[in-house]
């Protein structure tokens, strides 16, 4: 049998299921420490993370919402489609999902900053022309 080739995983680092609580606590502790030194951290994810999130938005959100966010199994998420949706409720939907639909809660994989950044991308119009 071939030795599995481990390639670097440019996607979102896996933190799932039972490992989630632990991983998230680690992240939170880290964030707590960083926050002491970096008041700007609240603002948005760093460049690398933004690139990962951008790929997630296009490819993984795009699987259900369309690569052009024109909808699929999930509704359209174009700027126009979201025009009358409050930012907070969009953040809540991404965070907790929508029970009774195929929309999962993403809080097991993404933190608040990530989710806010993703929602802001959509509100600004995604994908950009």
């Amino acid at each position: 049998m071939a030795a599995p080739v481990a390639l670097p995983h440019p996607g979102i680092p896996p933190t799932r299921g039972s490992g989630t609580a632990c991983g998230r606590r680690g992240v939170l502790v880290l964030l707590g420490c960083l926050a002491l030194f970096s008041p700007a951290l609240q603002a948005e994810p760093d460049t690398l993370r933004q690139r990962q999130l951008d790929n997630l938005l296009l490819q993984d959100c795009g699987s259900c919402h369309g690569l052009r966010m024109t909808g699929g199994l999930g509704p359209a998420l174009t700027r126009q489609a979201l025009a009358d949706k409050p930012r907070d409720s969009l953040i809540a939907t991404v965070t907790h999902g929508r029970p009774g639909t195929a929309m999962p809660g993403w809080n097991a994989l993404l933190d608040e900053q990530d989710i806010a950044w993703l929602v802001d991308q959509l509100l600004q119009g995604y994908p950009r022309p």
């Binding site: 599995p4 390639l7 979102i12 680092p13 993984d60 690569l67 024109t70 699929g72 809660g105 993403w106």
Partner: protein
Amino acid sequence: MRTPVLSLALAALLLGGCAHSSQTLPLRGTGDLGVVVERASGTLQLVEASTHTSLARIDGLGDLSHASVVFSRDQRYAYVFGRDGGLTKVDLLLQRVEQRVIQAGNSIGGAISSDGSLIAVGNYEPGGVKVFDAATLEQIADIPATPLADGSANSRVVGVTDVPGRRFIYSLFDTGETWLLDFSQGNQPQVTRFENIGKQPYDALLTPDGRYYIAGLFGEDGMALIDLWHPERGVTRILDGYGRGQQKLPVYKMPHLEGWTLAGNQAFVPAVGQHRVLVMDSSTWQQTDAIDVAGQPIFVMARPDARQIWVNFAHPDNHQVQVIDSETHEVIATLEPGPAVLHMEFTPRGDQLWLSVRDGGEIQVWDPYTLEKITSLPAESPSGIFFSSRAHATGL
């Protein structure tokens, strides 16, 4: 004597179009060819299995975020169902789009009839199925799905599959139904509706002999089975409550079902929201096992000799592929082909497995007997891989 030569040259020119200008096309068959969907760029790569090569890239196919492909029975044409409602007929010999119609706002997939004459497309928007002449892409029938309770739209359609006897079958995600369209008497179909099949069917499979249609349910644990030898017997619930007592994880990607899930007298299917593959005896449809795997399964695919089952996974476990022994149900290998393995396709006799590594930007060819990677080919966000051998398989 010059006239025939000239007209021949002219014919070759017309046939070749811009892609081949004045070159003479080499004689070749298309049975060794396949197409790979490049979802981000809306292109197809034309590939050849025996040489592990890419022969051409074909563009102009629109939004392929969720695309699937069926083939004409002469294996010359690929019909591509795109997210944007596009139905595109691609000529594999001339390596170009032959014809393209935008038939809906948003579609999910389709099928070609057993006689090769009809193409059925399942649509989310407007919810329903449209049927086209495979030769001309002219619309032959339009069958809107059941309206939603609030009247805002019709149910979304999933799992469109061909059934022997010029029939199609599909399920309605929002209203929990399965519809059977019978075109055996002509182009006005007879419609048989199966209601209350279960909550939110997300995809479906037809066994390779065309007898059983099985819809997977997202809204509850279980699957809905229809015996097409006996449609009068209605729907049987199988794998009922398979997740009882298990906490359901968030589902970041819908699993897929197709007939390759059958391996001899067993069926291996993904458990929705669980890190398990469920096994059934395909003569009784009773569950016989549940196999723990590395993530939420997406494609659970038997090697054509039925000796192994290959499984890929939803985000965030989609950098892995696992191989299950169909006899012992042991996971015999965990491979890491690269980031975001989206789809797998065996060559028809199983000597090769092709897989798409979306975020690695490549297609890989593996030997599923030695579990060695043979080669890889660059591709732009590759997703579905479809070999033309599907032309002769029912339900693919």
